[in-house]
């Protein structure tokens, strides 16, 4: 399958599309934290970095098998999230955002100074393992897990916390436990995405995981539509592919990218698919006929 795709597509496009898949996984993780549970996280790139470095160090320095490292990357990111989450998740709103941003920057600076990560020189010599097929298989798995989570008791509790945490607590939801679990699961996916990223780009440098990257993830989620899985996928696709399409404008690329972000927010403040219920759009007729039947039965 991979070989077939590589024979018909330009390697450059394969690289961009694979990277898009990696970002979708990470963005869906952030969506669970910010979109579903309503916790601001401005440090998502740090967990992405923990996964990337964790997995890459395991495969490069300890000859770990790739799939084991992939899982380990996710688990390390989730562990980092739990360690950071315990003190930080007592804060709410902008303050939580700022603290996660701070933790993100600290993790970046630590990676810059450690020996095992290669410091400012970066970590090279990673084997290419993330094929487009593997990445998109994992994208599908992530989408499935996210849907299953959101439509479970757990997911409904998270939405309750987002809507009103005091009311949720009064209803018997253990807010802190749920918040930490959601944070850890979201960061787990960031870690897996990071591991894939490391084995796709084959070179890691701490400067790639600064807060600019965290805000990029946040933009993917907010621009697509907070809490909406199709929205997040669309937002990630638009923002990842836009710089590629704007490449012909060369120097003006990032200028237009910034302006686009402002304009998109002004015209669609809830995101591209925010407030659009896709399920209802697709199953409109079904709902209608059911509604019709029930009124008929009632009458």
């Amino acid at each position: 399958m991979s070989a077939f795709l590589e024979s018909i597509l330009d390697p450059y496009y394969i690289q961009v599309l694979t990277l898009l898949g990696v970002y979708i996984i990470a963005a869906l993780g952030l969506n669970l934290i910010t979109g579903v549970t309503g916790m601001f996280s401005f440090g998502h790139a740090a967990y992405f970095a923990v996964g990337a470095y964790g997995a890459a160090i395991l495969t490069v320095k300890y000859q770990f098998p790739f799939y084991g490292a992939l899982l380990a990357g996710g688990i390390m990111a989730a562990l980092a999230a739990v360690i950071i989450g315990f003190p930080a998740l007592r804060l709410t709103g902008d303050y939580l955002g700022i603290v996660t941003l701070g933790f993100g920057e600290i993790i970046r600076v630590v990676f810059l100074n450690l020996d095992i990560t290669g410091g400012a020189l970066g970590l090279a010599g990673i084997a290419k393992e993330s094929s487009i097929v593997l990445v998109y298989t994992l994208v599908l798995v992530t989408i499935y897990v996210m849907y299953a989570l959101q439509n479970s008791r757990f997911g409904r509790a998270l939405v309750a916390i987002r809507e009103d945490d005091i009311a949720a607590e009064a209803m018997g939801i253990n807010i802190s436990a749920y918040k930490i679990k959601a944070f850890a699961i979201g960061c787990f996916f960031a870690g897996v995405a990071g591991a894939l990223y490391a084995h796709l780009l084959l070179f890691l440098n701490p400067t790639d995981f600064g807060f600019a990257k965290s805000f990029e993830f946040l933009c993917f989620v907010v621009l697509g539509g907070l809490g909406s899985i199709p929205g997040v996928i669309l937002g990630t696709s638009v923002l990842t592919l836009a710089p590629e399409f704007l490449r012909s404008l060369s120097d003006y690329r990032m200028l237009i990218y910034g302006a686009l972000m402002v304009l998109m927010m002004i015209f669609r403040p809830n995101g591209l698919l925010g407030g659009v219920d896709l399920q209802r759009l697709v199953f409109k007729n079904k709902y209608k006929s059911q509604a019709g039947r029930s009124t008929a039965a009632g009458g």
């Binding site: 303050y95 933790f103 600076v109 946040l218 907070l226 990032m254 200028l255 002004i266 809830n270 995101g271």
Partner: protein, 290 residues
């Protein structure tokens, strides 16, 4: 040695405080983290360089010109990028701010190139000795300018009508507008003052480090924002305290041999303070009603 670090830290902290004031005033009124504020500071520094190199002006004229230009820019920024989003979610306004920040950075990079530009010497490098402490003339000017600007700000906020309106709006936005305060004017004015202070900070940093570059606003903006939160966001004395605290701590940290961890010092301090005092040093506790 220690006293020397305190003086160096105070100088850096005064600049952080000038930038932090803009963050804190804007946040106090519209609860928006104005991420493009660091870029305003950067543009202020560039205007200062241009005034000196192209028009051959001195320090005083340059800093005033930079403040004027950034005042207009700040008001424009609010009109274009924030006002249409005032009723939307906070994340939407935040993304718009990040977009504006990317736009301004790249606009400056296209215009001036990504390389650092030297800031010509406008103040002679005289050194004064006070006891065992060495103070350069540049440091004295930075401290004096910051002090004067903060005193003017204090006067405006406390005694001038529009300053009182600002305080009213930051206490209760809706009630203030019911009392006949033109909220749009107050917000524009807040952005104007905040941007002017950031521009002054930019010129002062340019003079201090002799160089300006298009990405200088990113880290400085972030740290100044940390300073604002550290002091209690929304509180004007808090921003000054936070800025000075951060500047001194960072300088001492570097002197103690943690220079490779320089950028982590500010964030570590911020996290420690927020864990013990969740609304910052001088912030009012948030009261929530069910």
């Amino acid at each position: 040695m220690f006293e020397q670090q305190i003086i160096n830290g105070l100088t850096l902290g005064a600049v952080y405080a000038l930038i932090a004031l803009g963050y804190t005033m804007v946040y106090g009124i519209i609860q928006l983290i104005n991420f493009a504020h660091g870029e305003i500071y950067m543009i202020g520094a560039f205007v200062g360089v241009m005034m000196v190199t192209i028009l051959g002006q001195g320090f005083f004229v340059s800093i005033i010109a930079a403040m004027m230009v950034c005042m207009i820019l700040g008001v424009l920024l609010e009109r274009v990028a924030y006002r249409p989003l005032r009723k939307s979610t906070r994340l939407a306004a935040l993304i718009s701010a990040i977009g504006a920040s990317i736009f301004l950075q790249n606009a400056m990079m296209l215009w001036k190139g990504p390389q650092p530009v030297g800031f010509p010497q406008v103040i002679n490098d005289a050194i004064y000795h006070i006891g065992s402490v060495e103070v350069t003339k540049v440091q004295l000017i930075i401290l004096a300018t910051s002090a004067v600007l903060m005193a003017i700000l204090n006067y405006i906020v406390k005694y001038v009508k529009i300053g009182k309106a600002m305080r009213a709006a930051s206490q209760d936005y809706d009630t203030a507008s019911l009392m006949g305060i033109n909220i749009n004017r107050v917000i524009s004015f807040t952005f104007a003052i905040g941007s002017a202070l950031a521009a002054a900070g930019g010129v002062l940093v340019g003079i201090y480090f002799n160089t300006v570059e298009p990405l200088m606003g990113v880290m400085a903006g972030l740290k100044a924002f940390c300073a604002a939160v550290l002091g209690g966001i929304g509180s004007i004395p808090g921003a000054v305290l936070g800025g000075i605290f951060l500047g001194v701590a960072e300088t001492i940290g570097i002197a103690a041999g943690f220079s490779t961890y320089k950028d982590a010092i500010a964030f570590s301090l911020l996290i420690i303070v927020l864990l013990f005092k969740p609304t910052g040093l001088l912030g009012k506790p948030i009261q929530r009603k069910v």
